[in-house]
Symmetry: C2
Subunit: 373 residues, 2 copies
Amino acid sequence: MTTFELVLVGFGHVAQRFVTLLEEQRAALARERIAVRVVGVATRRHGAASAVRGLDAAALINRVARGERIGRSREERPAADFIADVAAANDAARERRLIVVETTTLDITRGQPAIEHVRAGLASGAHVITANKGPVAFAYHALAAAASRADRRFLFEGAVMDGVPIFNLVRETLPAVTILGFRGVVNSTTNFILTAMEQGQPFAEALSEMQAMGIAESDASLDVDGWDAAAKTAALANVLLDARLTPRDVERVGISAELGRPAMEARAAGRRLKLVARAAREDGRITARVAPEELPDDDLLAGLEGQQNAIILHTDLLGEVAVVQRGAGLTQTAYALLSDLITIGRDVNGPRGLRGRPPARRARSRARPDRTL
Amino acid sequence: MTTFELVLVGFGHVAQRFVTLLEEQRAALARERIAVRVVGVATRRHGAASAVRGLDAAALINRVARGERIGRSREERPAADFIADVAAANDAARERRLIVVETTTLDITRGQPAIEHVRAGLASGAHVITANKGPVAFAYHALAAAASRADRRFLFEGAVMDGVPIFNLVRETLPAVTILGFRGVVNSTTNFILTAMEQGQPFAEALSEMQAMGIAESDASLDVDGWDAAAKTAALANVLLDARLTPRDVERVGISAELGRPAMEARAAGRRLKLVARAAREDGRITARVAPEELPDDDLLAGLEGQQNAIILHTDLLGEVAVVQRGAGLTQTAYALLSDLITIGRDVNGPRGLRGRPPARRARSRARPDRTL
């Protein structure tokens, strides 16, 4: 059993659900030989708290809910300094047991402050897991290199499809496969609005509905102008296609009230209007685009209703493989963090199934002529 | 770099494509620190050959293509004995570097002889990978227990969706998630026939087309009577739902020429007729069924054309997650074996990304009061 010490940077709905999910999944974590202790919490407006022996995270959730500060100090310090201080205060970082859990509110035009938090975590000897798309959309290769140098993990399964695995899928289950490109529907708000407009509901009304449900951002432009989808497209392209893109490099056309009539007409003709994200390697360079596309009815993406998302991977060995997310919500996003935590646990604890055994002896090099493929 | 020694039991199209794929993917395997050498080949009608220093598998493919025997011996010996002999002849089994690759022709009503080959491999200290659904459909728990006792791996990614990951997906990327049930379209032949019948093509003509393409079995009843789908359903239920089913326990209704009219009528009404495989835990017991179902047009399974397959997992934490296979063929099936080989390689070589490092020290048990979730 390894006890991981967690520093929660950002303590909003996602981080709070992550904390309660950790408690609910304690038995599942124990089966993975993982225990956890929250040793630091940094909030945007309610201060920060840390304790080497562990914080009572449930009590902190209650304090924040009552509008109370969680730390004694009045001064606000940068979260990056807080991370460094917590890492310095105990042995967990050196022992590969410290994990920064990054869930701050994102400036999607810059990827900050999440990128700085990831850097600070890795520089302090912590693994970093994040539900933010910013770091991987704006700075994937730099952060992956920093993680490699630090010999720590930087994981972000929740950045694109919440808890539905897409990065893990490619890394863990498609070895030796080359991803040639992808297309998908990756923004729930715009898909919901387009589906509603097909049935004659006005754009503004559908958008308000999504905001009331807490799914659309209060700044609706991030969704409807395609910024969220462009950030996810850049993230996917950077990791899966080894691209060097930022969201600004993604050709981007959003949706608007003017698509109401085309959406209805497409539906009447047995076709569907979808905001499609796509990227591919063409003539040695990566092209990436987010734009409304009219799809034939038998296209997998055409069938995605309401908040459903999907990504179709175009591969060399397997042809097309698709992953479809049919439910979304806070638990799914928090689960993405949990799955990243377990990925780190499996790394640190070693492979399951073959526990406690030494690795195979290396095959001896032989002088006799071998037939080795 | 670990050199794995392979014993190919069954040397038909799948095994031969696996051999050429190993050669094509030599660089990808090297990145995984895996090299391979074929040390044994057992065929059904062309004898068997083995050599501790390695066989020239490409030359054996040519011999079989010319109708020649590959072994000197005239006597036919059971493959299980052949496996034991090859394992005894060198150090690979003891060093966890021997892998039996099982691709024999399956008796789908019994799961044999594949089950005996898996047992023999594990008993000889080999890992076993198979593209056959028989072992996991008829004897999953017994074979998994044998693998655990032997401290070797028994993997079968190709049993249900060819190379598209479903077992790996759940094992590697959905930790802590409980699968509550699934439904899917898992048989290409019946899906192709139903799609053709919607457009007025006669049942027998569509079936002949699939047989001519080498996709349908020459004994068509395995496909059209639902046996293949029932075996895959039992396999999925045994592994994902911890069921104890054989294909005989799966309620089974196949397809026939009489479904031509209903298929056309459903299509005209905006609905689709599909052979749906499903299983779920209900009131503490597992129910499993394969039967034609009329699906609404917006059902993910309704949109599967021709040979496409899909499985929708119903989960506790993530809601519904679907995986769609949009291309199928020999390379996909051979890739499933390759991915199983790499899974074993990752186990034996230890985690990537954190190579050569000792595992974290165990967290000390402390007398002081800790807050550990």
